[in-house]
Structure formats: structure tokens, C-alpha cells
């Protein structure tokens, strides 16, 4: 398999091979995508009928790359007489500057050809290939090729133009070029992706959403984005690299919310380039000390998309926060439920948690007041539709048997929620971390009600409910003989007794009884869960454990960042630092860009972290992970108008400075220094 090269600008992205070519594939997400539709599925360059070979690829910026190529196979190019440079960028549309260089002393005549086509596949059709419902038309126009897909009113177009004269045919463009000695020929190919709405105008024009941006504008915006974030000074090159990479990847994944006309972050390339409730919220939580400006548009997009009615196809209920919104054909024609889809039982409490955490950092009480209506509806949902069985817990069970998700938690693959012996529990299910989020949402909701909503009676009620939930949870989910919390309760109220990373999320939520936190910390760092690169999703002694199982054995950086935050909350600073160090070590093997997940093999067995085969990269909550880990090791916590700084660095890390941390205090610096490797941090201490 050839190496794939990606460039992106929010939810518009191009995936191609190391020559810059896109070969058509019904089942692999290669090509040019925007708003969940593939606008180019073929983009193939040849010179005199010969494909090209890559000499090198330069990933200049996330939105820009350059390919240096020669015709023919590697054995021929030693004395290449012709070479090719493809210089391309994405900024709303896609531009390629194609140059053919003649290295001889004589004029040369060449036929340059670019094959062009689009299948207008919906991203869901690439996951499950199927025929299109309408034909694609290729229309040859003066100096340009228009590819059109129309199904009833649904209308997408790819318009490709060339600055140099071209012979345009329905399958591409041909250039008969004459290149003088020691000279070059150039053309600029411009590809526009049109989502046509009212009066055949692009919908972004009707809604006044900004779209096309030049590389220079993108460069300037990236510079401003990076400059607004705190500066890191650190003795560890791996942390410095991961930090810089995270900021750039989050910048790359930003796109304009149609609802808010402001920027928020897409979840991950290539499969998840859209709004996901859970991923968006966790990424905002991770990045709050660094890029708080992402939060209002995220809260707004989720608030305006809040469920308002019962709809079985979409698993929608009043008050529920969405799981996933898609813009493509299958969502529009209601073949897939993502318009939006609400199959998540954790996003609703997480929405309240983010609203509170945002105010704690920024002091932006206007946002807390603006979304009071939605936050109350979310808190109500926890106790009514969320509590399917009326037992005081959040339960889930999809009502869409055709294409709904079976698991409405972050581990949403079909086999993720299992008993220790490998059996799968019947529905509905109540996973443990969702009860933790519900507890935290009530505690935080009470704070918001008391301070901003002028409703102390409601605050008292939420706190009583939270205390009651914590007491019941510690009775019903605690597995006495194993001394840990069950992964879930099944429909009979029995414990789903697998040992999983979810117990780390419970620490973050504060639902763990103080006397049990030590045991949970011990288990998280035990060989059963901790691989040496992080905490596995599922313990090695569970029947379904597989080091390459998506949610049953792999290590997820995002999961580990929340677990480390949880250990910090209960004062297990040394254990938190161990996880932070492990994940930063892993990041080093990926040039600072943490993938979605890596294999759960013991660190001693593989010596390097093995990437999960189809992991998304970049992925928002993996990019957010180094940020949250920095917060944890520096012990950053807003308290009233101040920022508490209480560092507990991994041994041997040396010096760590985070300068100009934004918040309600203005800007503040945090400094930390690790103890030497020998004395370390006392276990369970505040460091």
C-alpha cells in the first residue's frame, strides 16, 4: 500500500498517494471531500502516457503540500530529462500548481494529462459501498470541466478549471506543451466544490459563511491561533513537539459551524470530519486552558441541535444532546439517521459539564445564562428519558434497529460492553462512566443554578439527587470480590463485571467513594490495565481482551488523558504522572501526533507503540490529549478568580514552563520542575 498524504482545512480535505494521485476506490476514503461528499475520486497525472514516480514529498503546512516527481519507474530517473512539481493547497477550494521542468538543452514537446472524475460518494457509501441513486454528468465547458450530481433537489458540483489552455474532455484535461530548454511549463488547476441550494447558489453564500481562503490567509490565521495559545518552555523535546503538533492539528480541524457561523473542531480525518457531540465536548474540555475560544461555538452548535421530540429513527428525545451531524446525501434522504443522530447517552450530561467548566476558566457568565434553557432541559433528560428503566440511572437502547448504534457510550463498537467471560449483556445497558457524568452534571448544574440562574431551590435539589446517586452507585456497581466498579449494569440489574478503563472516568467525575480511590488507582496502574504506553480499554484477564480490539484492549490517548485528570482529582499525582509520561513517550513515536488508538501489547514486548490499523489521524481528542496532560502535571485548576498551580511532574522531566495561560485572571504563568528520578513523588500525595 502506498503512503497516503493528507491536506485539510476543516471539513474539506484531500487524501492522495505519495505521487499526489487519486486512483478511484469505492471503499477507501481517497480523494477530495467536503461536507461528507467526495468531490474528486480520480485525479491522476501522466506525462507522455506514463505515470510518475515520487522523489520526495514536502508536507509544508496542514493545508499545503508539494510533490517532486519524475516520469517512469525508479530505475529510469537517474538521468531524468524531465521532472514535475505539484504544489497544492486547500482553503475552502483545492488548487494545484503543476509545473513540468525540462532539464535538457533542447526544446521538448510533451503530452501532459490529468484524469479527472468524481463519484460523489457519500462518506457512508465508502464505509459500505453501494450504487449511486442518480448518474454523474461530465460537462465540457470553455476552459473547464463541470462534474454534476443531481438526485431530485440534491445538487453537488465539482468545477475544475485550468489557467493554461487545455483540451477538455469528459474524463479530464490534456495539455500539449512545448517546454524551452532549461525552462518550465506551468498551469494552475482550480477545483471548486459546490453544495448548491437556493437559486443554484452555493448554500455558504446564502448563509454568508466564509469559505475560500488563500494559503497566505490560512498561514496568518495559524500564526494568530498559535500566538494566542500559551507558550511552552520545556526540557523534554517530545513534550515540546507534541504540544506544537496538537495546536496545529486543532487548527487544521477547525471549520465553520453552519449554525453559529463560528469555528469549531471536526472530530477526525478521514471518517469523522463533522460535529460529534462527545468528541467536540471532550476536545473542548481538554483544550480549555489553551484555546477557550473554541467552546462557545461548540456549546452553541450543540444547544441549537438539542433534541426536541421523540424520533425512533434518530434515537432523539427532548433535551438530548446530539451524537453526530452529517451533511451528505444519505443524511438528507434519511437513509442514515444523522440529521442529526442522537444515539449517545453521555453527551447530554457532558454538555452541562462543559458549560460549567468553561465558566470556571473564563468567567464568561453570559454564555452560562444564554444556555440556561438547554442546560436545564439536559439535566431534566438525565432523570426522565435518560432513565429508561426508572431506576435512577442513565440507560440506553437504540430504537433504530437498522442503522442505529448499539452502544451509546464512547466505546460504541458492538462488542465493547461485555462480561468478564466474554458474553454480551442484553439491553438496555447502564455503563458506569455515564452515571459518573450524570453525578458531575448535577453537581455542576447546582453551581450554575445557584450562581447564575438565581434558583437556589433547584441547586439544592440537584445536590440532593447527586448525593443519592453517588450512594446508590457505590452500592449497585461495586463488585465486592474483585474490588472495582462494574463496567455496566445489565437489563436485569446484574453487574457487567469486566474490568475496564471506564473506572478511570469515575475518578474524573468524583463519584468514587474516597476510601475506594486508592484501589482504583492501583488497578489502573496494574499489569492488567496498564500496558506501559497507557491504560488499556479492557483488562488482559477479560475473555474479549485483544491488544488490537478497537474498544477491547487498545490504548486510547484521549481515554488516558481523562483517567490522568481523574487521578489528579483524588490526589494520586504520581500515578497521574506515570500515565502522562507514558503517553508523551508514545507520542514521540508518532512525531508528536497521537493517533486515535494504539495496540495494547505490553511495552516490553513491542518496544514501540503499534498504531491501530485504521486509526483516524489527526483526531481532535487525540490532539487534545497532550494539552490535558500538561494541565494535569502542572496541577492547574481555576478557583474563584485565581488559577491554582500545583505541579507534580514525572521524575526526570526537568523544567516545564507554561506561559500566558488565558482565563478570568487575564494571563498567568505556570512553572514546574520534576524531582530527580530517585526521590520521585510520594504515592497518593499532592506532589
Amino acid at each position: 500500500m502506498r503512503k497516503s498524504i493528507n491536506i485539510l482545512d476543516g471539513n474539506t480535505f484531500l487524501v492522495c498517494d505519495d505521487r499526489g494521485d487519486v486512483d478511484p476506490s469505492p471503499s477507501v476514503p481517497t480523494g477530495l471531500f467536503s461536507y461528507d461528499t467526495r468531490f474528486l475520486s480520480t485525479w491522476r497525472l501522466s506525462v507522455n502516457g506514463e505515470r510518475l514516480h515520487a522523489l520526495s514529498v514536502d508536507d509544508i503546512r496542514y493545508f499545503e503540500s508539494r510533490f517532486f516527481l519524475v516520469p517512469g519507474e525508479p530505475t529510469h530517473y537517474v538521468d531524468a530529462t524531465v521532472s514535475v512539481i505539484r504544489d497544492r493547497s486547500i482553503g475552502g477550494s483545492f488548487t494545484e500548481n503543476l509545473a513540468v521542468l525540462n532539464h535538457t538543452d533542447e526544446e521538448t514537446t510533451l503530452t501532459v494529462r490529468v484524469d479527472m472524475a468524481s463519484d460523489f460518494a457519500d462518506i457512508f457509501e465508502i464505509k459500505n459501498p453501494q450504487g449511486k441513486k442518480a448518474p454523474v454528468q461530465a460537462i465540457v465547458e470553455e476552459g473547464q470541466l463541470r462534474l454534476r450530481y443531481r438526485r431530485d433537489s440534491f445538487h453537488r458540483e465539482t468545477v475544475i478549471s485550468s489557467s493554461a489552455p487545455a483540451r477538455v474532455d469528459p474524463e479530464g484535461m490534456t495539455f500539449e506543451v512545448r517546454v524551452p530548454p532549461q525552462s518550465e511549463w506551468q498551469t494552475r488547476l482550480h477545483v471548486r466544490t459546490l453544495v448548491l441550494g437556493a437559486h443554484e447558489r452555493d448554500f455558504r453564500d446564502s448563509l454568508e459563511l466564509r469559505q475560500a481562503r488563500s494559503p497566505a490567509e490560512l498561514d496568518e490565521q495559524l500564526r494568530q491561533w498559535t500566538a494566542a495559545a500559551p507558550r511552552l518552555k520545556c526540557d523534554s523535546p517530545s513534550i515540546t513537539t507534541a504540544y506544537r503538533r496538537s495546536l496545529v492539528d486543532l487548527a487544521a480541524l477547525r471549520y465553520t459551524s453552519i449554525t453559529m457561523a463560528e469555528e469549531l473542531v471536526a472530530a477526525g480525518l478521514p471518517w469523522f470530519m463533522t460535529v460529534f457531540g462527545r468528541d467536540s465536548i471532550f476536545t473542548c474540555l481538554q483544550a480549555l486552558p489553551f484555546t477557550p475560544q473554541l467552546v462557545p461555538a461548540t456549546l452553541g452548535t450543540l444547544a441549537y441541535g438539542q433534541g426536541s421530540r421523540l424520533d425512533d429513527f434518530r434515537d432523539e428525545e427532548p433535551g438530548k444532546i446530539l451524537h453526530e451531524l452529517r451533511y451528505g446525501e444519505s443524511a438528507g434522504f434519511e437513509e442514515q439517521p444523522h440529521s442529526p443522530y442522537y444515539g449517545a447517552a453521555d453527551t447530554t450530561p457532558l454538555f452541562v459539564i462543559l458549560l460549567d467548566e468553561y465558566e470556571r476558566w473564563t468567567g464568561d457568565s453570559a454564555v452560562v445564562r444564554a444556555y440556561e434553557f438547554e442546560a436545564r432541559a439536559a439535566l431534566d433528560w438525565i432523570d426522565n428519558y435518560g432513565d429508561l428503566l426508572g431506576t435512577g440511572y442513565i440507560w440506553y437502547e437504540t430504537r433504530n434497529r437498522d442503522n442505529g448504534l448499539v452502544n451509546h457510550c464512547w466505546k460504541d463498537s458492538p462488542d465493547s460492553i461485555c462480561y468478564r467471560d466474554g458474553r454480551l449483556p442484553p439491553f438496555p445497558r447502564a455503563t458506569c462512566e455515564q452515571q459518573g457524568y450524570a453525578y458531575d452534571a448535577k453537581i455542576r448544574g447546582a453551581r450554575l443554578a445557584r450562581l447564575f440562574w438565581n434558583d437556589p431551590a433547584y441547586a439544592d435539589r440537584l445536590e440532593r439527587e447527586a448525593a443519592d446517586l453517588k450512594a446508590r452507585f457505590n452500592e449497585d456497581f461495586w463488585i465486592a470480590d474483585g474490588e472495582y466498579y462494574a463496567l455496566a449494569l445489565d437489563a436485569e440489574g446484574g453487574q457487567v463485571d469486566a474490568l475496564s478503563s471506564n473506572i478511570g472516568h469515575l475518578l474524573w467525575s468524583g463519584i468514587v467513594e474516597e476510601s475506594r480511590a486508592g484501589r482504583i488507582a492501583e488497578l489502573l496502574l496494574s499489569d492488567r490495565l496498564f500496558s506501559g504506553w497507557g491504560v488499556r480499554t479492557l483488562a488482559t484477564d477479560c475473555a474479549r481482551y485483544n491488544p488490537l480490539g478497537y474498544h477491547v484492549g487498545t490504548v486510547w490517548p484521549f481515554d488516558n488523558s481523562i483517567i490522568a485528570w481523574g487521578l489528579w482529582r483524588y490526589g494520586y499525582r504520581r500515578e497521574a504522572a506515570t500515565i502522562c509520561q507514558a503517553v508523551f513517550d508514545a507520542a514521540d513515536y508518532f512525531q508528536g501526533r497521537l493517533p486515535e488508538a494504539f495496540a495494547g501489547y505490553p511495552r516490553a514486548r513491542t518496544t514501540y507503540p503499534v498504531e491501530y490499523p485504521t486509526a483516524c489521524s489527526p483526531q481532535a481528542w487525540s490532539a487534545g490529549t497532550p494539552l490535558l496532560l500538561l494541565r494535569v502535571i502542572l496541577g492547574l485548576q481555576p478557583h474563584d478568580e485565581h488559577l491554582i498551580i500545583d505541579p507534580a511532574l514525572p521524575p526526570g522531566l526537568g523544567r516545564l514552563e507554561l506561559l500566558d495561560i488565558p482565563g478570568r485572571w487575564g494571563r498567568i504563568d505556570a512553572l514546574g520542575r520534576s524531582r530527580t528520578a530517585t526521590d520521585g513523588i510520594p504515592p497518593g500525595s499532592g506532589g
Binding site: 431530485d152 433537489s153 440534491f154 445538487h155 448548491l196 441550494g197 437556493a198 448554500f203 446564502s206 448563509l207 453552519i258 449554525t259 453559529m260 457561523a261 452553541g300 444547544a303 441549537y304 441541535g305 426536541s308 421530540r309 421523540l310 424520533d311 425512533d312 429513527f313 434518530r314 428525545e317 451531524l325 451533511y327 451528505g328 446525501e329 443524511a331 438528507g332 434522504f333 434519511e334 440529521s339 442529526p340 444564554a370 444556555y371 434553557f373 438547554e374 426522565n384 428519558y385 432513565d387 429508561l388 428503566l389 426508572g390 431506576t391 435512577g392 440507560w395 437502547e397 430504537r399 438496555p428 443519592d468 446508590r472 437489563a491 436485569e492 440489574g493
Partner: protein, 138 residues
């Protein structure tokens, strides 16, 4: 079909703003286009606690354009407004937030039951659990 639409708009003032977040303010015009005419509904959501509806043809913060047949599907709960917009059976000009808020007035699909009833029927332990809880708290 047009009776459903008329009934929907006429009922809005009585339904009031209880379904809408208080911060949502603005004006929305719905243009229903047939081959030979366009009928307009103008919804004023600017005043606190009040919804005004008339047939004025005035500039609005958001304009939703579609056919009576498609809009009737929305007021009967047969399709969500977002899907109709995604497949371009309706188009929107202006502030997208207003139509997303206005979506709260559309009903659920006909015949949709409360998911809690089915779940509790299929998982009978919930009843015993609730009784145990009552005993504990009572």
C-alpha cells in the same frame, strides 16, 4: 394539506414561547411556493413571551423557502427540518439559528411511543428495583 399548515401557524400564538430558549429573538418568514403563486407566513419572535403570526411580506432575519407539500411534512412530523434542508427540498437564507429554534414547534412522527414504556415492559426488574428504592428512601 394546506389546512394542516394553516392550523399550525394559527396555533402558534397560543402555544407561545415556552418551547423556545428565551434568548432566541428574531423574525422568520416561510415562503410556500407553488407553480403559480407564493404564500407567505411571517413569524415574529422578537417580543418576550409572545409569538405573532401574520401573512406579511416583509424582510425577515431568516427566510425558509419550500413547497406546501414539503412544509406539510414538517408540520405533521414526517420529516425533520434539518433533513429537508440537507436534501435541498427547502432552502434557507439568513440566520440558521432561527430555523433550528423554530424546529422545536414541529411535532414528533405520528405513532411514536414513549421509549420508557417499552423498555420497562421488557426489563421487568425495574419495577422490583423501584420498590426497593422506595423502601430505602421511605
Amino acid at each position: 394539506m394546506s389546512d394542516d399548515i394553516e392550523a399550525f401557524f394559527v396555533a402558534l400564538p397560543a402555544r407561545g414561547r415556552a418551547l423556545l430558549p428565551p434568548r432566541v429573538r428574531g423574525t422568520l418568514r416561510v415562503d410556500l411556493v407553488t407553480h403559480d403563486s407564493t404564500r407567505h407566513w411571517y413569524v415574529d419572535l422578537r417580543a418576550p413571551g409572545r409569538v405573532l403570526v401574520n401573512r406579511d411580506v416583509r424582510a425577515a432575519d431568516a427566510v425558509l423557502t419550500t413547497t406546501p407539500a414539503v412544509f406539510a411534512r414538517l408540520v405533521r412530523g414526517e420529516s425533520p427540518a434539518t433533513a429537508v434542508l440537507l436534501r435541498n427540498e427547502a432552502t434557507l437564507v439568513g440566520d440558521a439559528r432561527l430555523i433550528l429554534a423554530f424546529r422545536r414547534y414541529f411535532p414528533q412522527p405520528h405513532g411514536t411511543g414513549d421509549p420508557r414504556e417499552g423498555a420497562q415492559r421488557r426489563a421487568p426488574h425495574g419495577q422490583a428495583w423501584r420498590e426497593r428504592l422506595r423502601a430505602r428512601t421511605g
